[in-house]
Amino acid sequence: MLNARERQYGWLLIRYAGDAAIAITMVLYCTQLVFAGGPGYVAGSSYFNSSTMGQPLVWTGGQINYYTDQGDLSPILPNAAANALVANSFLQWTTVSTAAVVANDAGQLAEDVNGSNLEVNSSGIVTAPSDITASATNTPIGIVYDYDGSVTNALLGEGAGDASQCFWNAVYGGVDNFGVAANFQHALVVINGQCALQSSQLTDVEYRLVRVLGNVLGLGWSQLNLNVITGNPTPTSDDFAGFPVMHYTDPVNCIPITACYANPYQLSADDIAALSRLYPVEPRPPSTIRIYGSVYFSNHLGGEGQPMQGVNVFARWIDPSTNLPSHRYAASSVSGFLFTGNAGNPITGWTDPLGNAYSEFGSSNQTLEGFFDLGGLPIPNGANSAQYQLSVEALDPAWSAGVSPYDDSQVAPSGTFAPITVTVSAGGEFEQDIQMSGSRQADAPWAATATWSAPP
């Protein structure tokens, strides 16, 4: 029914320099990454323990220990200042009161990682310090300070670490080792010092670091208030405030980033809600509510048909003072975000171009195919209940291309849905399914003995 795409994750195979044994590493080859308006990774029906299928991947217990490079990041960011930059970037996420996640500065890596640490031997094997490899679970998050851009040059090509490439390569990396219990085991983050040569650049670096750390925590990309980018309609201050830090991409001329967003790494209600769902506080804070349900096609009788995946569902707080939906206090969730985005088929095969099974990420449980979850919605005025307007929209194929489960191949929702308003008590939850009226009917099978997934 819907377009498919590949998702796969590989990481660097690295070998400990100077050690005869291969220290390895790498990655998880992975596969179907499920970057949704919520979790970035969801356990599938293979590789992970079967009991975890459909669970978002997280750091166990919400506890994160990160290790920083021994070197300086740049002439204006000696080691201590660089560490402070990293700590402050983590704080953007760990200070969310409705999320149970803690990041500890657990110490330093064993070396100053630089271009000379990365080598390739005569067999073509890349070697690097063992404590930044994917198998280095004792240093679960390694933060590399690439002082002169040489690490970036080595990994991405000569010139990639140049200051002219900072829009793309100032900060990069991500999770590179996944545990079978649906947990993260290692991540690597590289910060390019060539992008931190002037104090005026530091906001940009921190913005990109906060976004990469969002991915490292397990968050996917999100779409909300896209008019901040498109300009249609002209964004208000509330649009900017409600615009997620975890939006997929920026216009290339947002240099410096404050040319586009005055407070670029200030979390929005959408970011906070997504993190709160990933690392929930128990019991649910009374200052939040949850709206959840599934999106469905209409069947030929006008009832709920097949679940519909890939629809951006969003809820906006109804401000009692205006009775209008707020663009500041809002959150989104993509239907089917826990479901596999590309399970493969007999024509395309069941593995991606690298041979990884599509089934590794995303549940095959069809009850999740149209499921959305808007937990963590705030009640800004501290009232005993809140009204939220529930709406749907298409994911923009350009500006939200990376939002899963259909990343790189967004689809237009079939049919329409008139926004509705629901009332939820503080600390409570509300189930609201969404039936798309006028949606396309399912195509009839080829023959009585055949289905689209099992042709004759």
Binding site: Q8, Y9, G10, W11, L12, L13, I22, I24, M26, Y29, C30, L33, L118, E119, V120, S123, G124, I125, V126, A154, L155, L156, G157, E158, G159, A160, D162, A163, S164, Q165, C166, F167, W168, N169, Y172, G173, G174, D176, L188, S200, T230, G231, N232, T249, P251, V252, N253, C254, I255, P256, A259, P353, L354, G355, A398, W399, A401, G402, D407, D408
Partner: protein
């Protein structure tokens, strides 16, 4: 009679002068203008008169761009991508795989093999080119399918033998089944400093190559 002739001659001269003045004014409006201004005018009304006929998707939503910041060189976008590129070509993906290392299944890099079509820099037309990309890029969306056609601007391979598209997704263009270059969100307005400026999401391949060659010459 003489006075009448003089008045007619004067009127004719004035008419010619006014026409020339109007032409000058119109020319001034289409003369090169600063980058940001050119972008906005191009977005508002694509200049199709001086260029080959192109397909223009009216439904394409044009993003709002701020003026270039102090860290962005004021060259044409294509020139910005072309400058650091060591390899520029169009081609078809022939194979995707992992690098063969240590006998394990985990790759040091993703290996992509292309049949080079048009060679712009660093390769030869018809060449079979194999590149190695840091495997971590696969997760960032730098993925390939066998059979797909692309235009790539690649950094020169590092001493580790690894490369990647210049400016990430900015340095990679898909070619659709009709042979047109597809411009994604990053590419909007990428041809604007050329005569073929305009907000369009597909460009005929010859037009793109022409713009690219101009950009390379601009360096």
């Amino acid at each position: 009679m003489t006075g009448s002739l003089c008045r007619r001659l004067l009127a004719a001269v004035l008419l010619i002068f006014v026409v020339q003045l109007l032409q000058l004014l119109l020319r001034a409006q289409s003369a090169p203008v600063p980058f940001a201004v050119a972008r906005r005018s191009a977005l508002a009304r694509p200049n199709l008169d001086d260029s080959p006929r192109i397909e223009f998707d009216e439904s394409y939503r044009v993003p709002v761009f701020p003026a270039p910041g102090p860290f962005l060189p004021r060259h044409s976008p294509l020139a910005q991508i072309a400058r650091p590129a060591g390899i520029i070509f169009s081609g078809r993906v022939m194979a995707v795989g992992r690098s063969d290392s240590s006998g394990g299944r985990d790759p040091a890099s993703t290996t992509i093999t292309f049949q080079v079509g048009q060679a712009i820099r660093g390769v030869s037309a018809g060449q079979t080119l194999t590149i190695h990309e840091w495997a971590g890029l696969w997760a960032k969306g730098e993925r390939y399918r066998v059979g797909e056609r692309v235009v790539l601007f690649l950094f020169p391979p590092s001493r580790l033998g690894l490369t990647s598209p210049v400016a990430g997704p900015w340095g990679r263009f898909e070619i659709d089944p009709r042979g047109r270059v597809v411009l994604n969100a990053y590419h909007a307005g990428i041809l604007e400093s050329h005569a073929q400026a305009g907000a369009k999401n597909v460009v005929p391949y010859p037009e793109f190559v022409l713009a690219l060659r101009r950009a390379v010459e601009e360096e």
